[in-house]
C-alpha cells in the first residue's frame, strides 16, 4: 500500500522577532545613532540609552556542521544565544556590555574566524556556487574567494580604505554574484559545442531559442535529426542555453577566462546607483589559487586607496580622475572590447570635448 504523503505547511518566511536579540527586539525602530569603535565592531545606541555592540566575522561561507556549531557555541557563551547574518554572509554577534566585546573577539579569532568587515574595509567577497554546485560554472567561486581573501585579509581586518569596498565573484557572465566595486566574473569566450545526437531527446527547442539574448540559436535538422544551430558570429558565449539544453556544452577548460569589472555601487549616497564596468579580461582561469586575478585586484585596490579622497567609492574616484588615468594607474590595456556595443551603448560614448591629457 502506498504510504500517505505529508502535506506541506506553507508557512513562508518566518517571523524574525522570535530569533532577534532582546536588545534589538526591545528597541525596534527606536535607535538614535551608531559609532564605529574599532574595525569589526559597531556600537548602536538607542533613544533610551541602551547600547548594543555588534561584532562581525568572516567565515568560509560554505559552512560545515562543525563550523556552524562552533559559531553557535561562541554565540551561546558571548552573544546571549543570538546570531544574525549579513548580505555578504558574515555572522554578527551581539553584546550589551563593552567589557564583553574583547573576549568575544578573542573567542572568534581563536576559533579561526576573522573579525572585521565593517565600515571602510574590504568585506567578504560575495559569490556564486561554482564547481561545487552550479551547472554552468566557468570556475570555482568559493576557491577564488578563499584564495583572494587570504591576500586581502588585512583589508578585511582593518578599515582603512577611502570608503567600503564590495567585491563579488560570479562563475559565469550571467552574473548571479551581483554588482561590486570590484567584480571578478567568468567570461566564456567560445560558442557552445553541440552534441546533435542528444538535442532532440533532451531539449525543449523553442525555450532554448527564446532564451538566447542575441537570437543566435535556430532550430535545424542535423544528420536527419531535429537539433539546434548557433550563429557563431552573433553568439556572445553567455552560456544561457546550457541549463535548458545540456548538449550545448559551454564549459571549456581552455577558453574560459576571468574578467574584472569595477565601479558597481548599489548605494544612493552622493550619486545614483551604478553598474560595474569592464576593465580587464583574458585572465587565466588558474586553479587552485588564481594568482593573476588576485594580482590585478590588489593593483586596483592599491591605486584606489592611494588616489581616492575620503568617502569616494571606486566609481566616484574613477569618475573624478577619468578612465584614461585609471587604466594608466592600474597598468591595464584599453582595448576595443572596453567600448560597449550592446543596447543603448551610445549613451556610454563621450559626446563632449571633455578630454583628459
Amino acid at each position: 500500500m502506498a504510504k500517505e504523503m505529508r502535506e506541506p505547511i506553507e508557512s513562508g518566511c518566518p517571523d524574525p522577532f522570535q530569533y532577534m536579540h532582546p536588545t534589538m527586539r526591545r528597541n525596534f525602530g527606536m535607535w538614535a545613532y551608531h559609532e564605529h569603535p574599532r574595525p569589526g565592531v559597531l556600537l548602536h545606541v538607542a533613544k533610551n540609552g541602551d547600547k548594543l555592540w555588534t561584532v562581525k566575522a568572516g567565515t568560509q561561507r560554505i559552512l560545515d556542521l562543525f563550523s556552524l556549531r562552533k559559531l553557535c557555541d561562541i554565540a551561546d557563551e558571548y552573544s546571549d544565544g543570538y546570531i544574525r547574518f549579513t548580505l555578504r554572509s558574515n555572522p554578527e554577534f551581539f553584546v550589551t556590555e563593552e567589557e564583553r566585546v574583547e573576549p568575544l573577539i578573542n573567542a572568534l579569532e581563536e576559533a579561526g574566524f576573522i573579525v572585521g568587515g565593517t565600515q571602510n574595509s574590504v568585506t567578504t567577497l560575495s559569490h556564486t556556487q561554482g564547481w561545487l554546485h552550479c551547472d554552468i560554472p566557468g570556475t570555482d567561486a568559493s576557491g577564488v574567494v578563499k584564495a583572494m581573501m587570504d591576500e586581502l585579509i588585512d583589508e578585511f581586518r582593518n578599515a582603512d580604505m577611502p570608503n567600503r569596498v564590495h567585491i563579488t565573484t560570479s562563475c559565469c557572465q550571467i552574473n548571479c554574484g551581483g554588482q561590486g566595486d570590484i567584480a571578478i566574473n567568468v567570461q566564456h569566450t567560445k560558442p557552445p559545442k553541440i552534441n546533435h545526437d542528444l538535442v532532440a531527446n533532451v531539449c525543449e527547442r523553442p525555450s532554448v531559442v527564446a532564451r538566447c539574448p542575441v537570437a543566435a540559436i535556430r532550430p535545424a535538422m542535423v544528420n536527419g535529426k531535429p537539433s539546434l544551430e548557433v550563429d557563431e558570429k552573433k553568439c556572445i558565449c553567455c552560456g544561457a542555453c546550457f541549463p535548458p539544453c545540456p548538449p550545448m556544452q559551454i564549459n571549456d577548460a581552455e577558453h574560459t577566462k576571468l574578467s574584472i569589472w569595477v565601479g558597481g555601487n548599489h548605494s544612493n549616497a552622493r550619486g545614483k546607483p551604478t553598474f560595474q564596468k569592464l576593465v580587464a579580461s583574458g585572465i587565466p582561469n588558474n586553479p587552485p589559487r588564481w594568482p593573476e586575478a588576485t594580482a590585478i585586484v590588489k593593483r586596483i585596490l592599491k591605486a584606489y586607496n592611494e588616489g581616492a579622497k575620503d568617502w569616494e567609492r571606486i566609481n566616484e574616484w574613477i569618475e573624478r580622475i577619468g578612465w584614461p588615468r585609471f587604466f594608466e594607474e592600474v597598468e591595464l590595456p584599453f582595448t576595443k572590447y572596453h567600448i560597449d556595443n550592446w543596447r543603448g551603448s551610445r549613451k556610454s560614448l563621450n559626446s563632449s570635448a571633455y578630454i583628459r591629457f
Binding site: P8, E10, G12, C13, P14, D15, Q18, Y19, H21, M24, G29, H34, Q60, I62, D64, L65, F66, S67, C72, I83, R84, F85, L87, S89, I114, H127, T128, Q129, W131, H133, C134, D135, P137, D140, S142, G143, K146, A147, I153, I174, N175, C176, G178, R211, C212, P213, P246, N251, D252, H266, S267, N268, R270, P273, P287, P288, K309, W311, W342, R343
Partner: protein, 416 residues
C-alpha cells in the same frame, strides 16, 4: 571503517593561508564526523571537486525534483561523473526561507544542524545570493524527510525557477537609526502573500522582492529586485545643531566642507559661520551621504514612507537593469496602507504574468512595451519623479495632449 580517500593535491592548496577554508570544513566532515554516510559524501564531493580543479570544468547538471505538494524550491544536481564519485552523484540543494532580516537563535540553528546531520551532507550556506539558507547536498531519498522535519518546526522552502523568489530585507529598524519603515513587515507581507507563487513555478520567469530601510540600500534592492522597496521620508531631515558643532570642532571646518558640504549632490547644505548647518530640504534628494558621515548630528525625518522601484535584474538577457521608480512615495502606516502595498504587487505580477514573453523579467517587459504602457496596465499615474529627464526624441504622436494635461491639473487640484 576507514574510507578510501580521494587524493586532493590541488584542493589542499586552498587550506593554506589565514582565511577560513571551506575545503578544511569539507575534510572535517570526511574525517571527523561520526556518521559514516556523511564521511563518504564529503569524500566523494572532494573527489569530484578536485577533478573539476584538474580539468577546469564543472560536472553538475540539473533536473526536476521537488517535495510533495510543491513544484520548486530545490536545486536538483546530478553528477556527470557519478560513476567515478558515486557517493555524491545526487547532490541537491534545498532552498529554505530565512527569517526576515536573517536573525537566528542558536537553539534554532542547532535544531536545523541536527536535522541536516540526519538527512544531508552537513554543508550549509547562510545565505545564497537570492537570500535562502542553502542546505547543500541531499540525495533523492533524503530531501523529502529533511523538508518534512524542518517544515514541522517552522521552516518553508523558498523559490527556484520561474516563480516568486525568497525575499530579502536589511537589519533595518531592529538595529539601525536610518530605518524609515518596518522592513520585516514589508518583507513578510509581500512574500507570504505569494506563497503559492513561491512554491509552484508558473510565472514567465523569476520575480524578486527586496526591502531596504533607507536609500543606502544595503540589500542592493534597486539593482537586484524586480520589486524594490526603499525606505525614505518627505519632511525635513533632523538636525541636532549641538552635535553638528561638536562634529565640526572634532574634525575641523575643512574636513566638514570637503566631506559633507561639497559632497551633497544637490548643494542642499551650507556651513554657517557659527559652525551650524542650514539644510535646504526642498533640494535634498535623500541620498543619505551627510547622515552617513554625521549619524549623531543628522537623522531621517518624521514623515516616513517608501519609494518603490520596479524591474531591477542581473545580466540575462538584455543586460543589467536598474529598477525604475513607479511609486515615488508611499506611506506605510495604517493597515490600509499595508494592504495597498500588497495589492500593488498583485497588480504588477498579474500584469507581468499576462504580458511577458517566455523567460522575460519584469524589467525587460517594461523595456519592450515602454513605461507608460506598464503604468496604464497596473493603474498608476505618471509622475516626474519617474524619469531622469523628459523625452528627448520628438518623434512621438501627441494628439491626446490636452486630455493628459487636464488629468495632471485635476490630480494636482485633488492633492492640494
Amino acid at each position: 571503517m576507514a574510507i578510501d580517500k580521494y587524493p586532493t593535491p590541488m584542493l589542499d592548496q586552498l587550506e593554506e593561508g589565514p582565511w577560513p577554508s571551506f575545503i578544511s570544513g569539507i575534510k572535517r566532515l570526511r574525517d571527523e564526523h561520526p556518521n559514516e554516510k556523511i564521511n563518504k559524501v564529503a569524500n566523494s564531493l572532494l573527489g569530484q571537486l578536485e577533478h573539476s580543479y584538474e580539468t577546469r570544468k564543472g560536472y553538475w547538471k540539473g533536473g526536476t525534483i521537488s517535495v510533495y505538494g510543491y513544484g520548486g524550491g530545490i536545486i536538483p544536481r546530478f553528477s556527470e561523473v557519478g560513476h567515478a564519485f558515486p557517493e555524491s552523484k545526487e547532490f541537491h540543494t534545498l532552498r529554505v526561507q530565512p527569517p526576515a532580516g536573517n536573525h537566528y537563535s542558536t537553539a534554532m540553528l542547532r535544531q536545523l544542524a541536527d536535522s541536516w546531520e540526519k538527512y544531508g551532507s552537513g554543508l550549509i550556506t547562510f545565505h545564497g545570493q537570492t537570500g535562502n539558507i542553502m542546505f547543500i547536498g541531499a540525495d533523492s531519498d533524503q530531501y523529502q524527510h529533511f523538508f518534512d522535519e524542518i517544515n514541522d518546526y517552522g521552516w518553508d522552502l523558498g523559490g527556484a525557477g520561474p516563480c516568486v523568489r525568497t525575499a530579502m530585507s536589511c537589519v533595518g529598524a531592529a538595529r539601525c537609526e536610518m530605518s524609515c519603515t518596518n522592513e520585516q513587515k514589508a518583507h513578510r507581507l509581500l512574500v507570504n502573500n505569494f506563497t503559492d507563487d513561491v512554491h509552484r513555478p508558473a510565472l514567465p520567469y523569476k520575480f524578486k522582492f527586496k526591502i531596504s530601510g533607507c536609500p543606502n540600500d544595503c540589500q542592493n534592492a534597486i539593482e537586484r529586485a524586480d520589486f524594490a522597496v526603499i525606505g525614505t521620508w518627505r519632511d525635513d531631515m533632523k538636525v541636532n545643531q549641538d552635535e553638528v558643532k561638536a562634529f565640526v570642532e572634532k574634525k575641523g571646518r575643512q574636513y566638514v566642507i570637503d566631506n559633507v558640504i561639497t559632497r551633497c549632490p544637490t548643494n542642499a547644505i551650507s556651513l554657517n559661520d557659527d559652525d551650524t548647518i542650514t539644510v535646504n530640504n526642498k533640494d535634498c534628494v535623500r541620498c543619505m551621504h551627510c547622515l552617513n558621515v554625521m549619524p549623531k548630528a543628522l537623522g531621517v525625518g518624521d514623515d516616513k514612507g517608501v519609494t518603490i522601484l520596479i524591474g531591477g535584474k542581473r545580466t540575462l538577457k538584455i543586460g543589467d537593469l536598474m529598477g525604475t521608480v513607479v511609486v515615488p512615495f508611499k506611506k506605510l502606516e495604517t493597515e490600509e496602507d499595508w494592504e495597498s502595498l500588497v495589492e500593488l504587487a498583485e497588480e504588477i505580477i498579474d500584469f507581468w504574468a499576462e504580458n511577458a514573453l517566455e523567460h522575460e523579467r519584469c524589467g525587460e517587459m517594461i523595456e519592450r512595451i515602454g513605461l507608460v504602457n506598464f503604468l496604464e496596465g497596473i493603474g498608476v499615474e505618471v509622475d516626474p519623479n519617474m524619469v531622469n529627464h523628459p523625452r528627448e526624441c520628438s518623434y512621438v504622436r501627441m494628439d491626446g495632449w490636452d486630455e493628459e494635461a487636464i488629468k495632471w491639473f485635476d490630480r494636482q487640484a485633488e492633492a492640494s
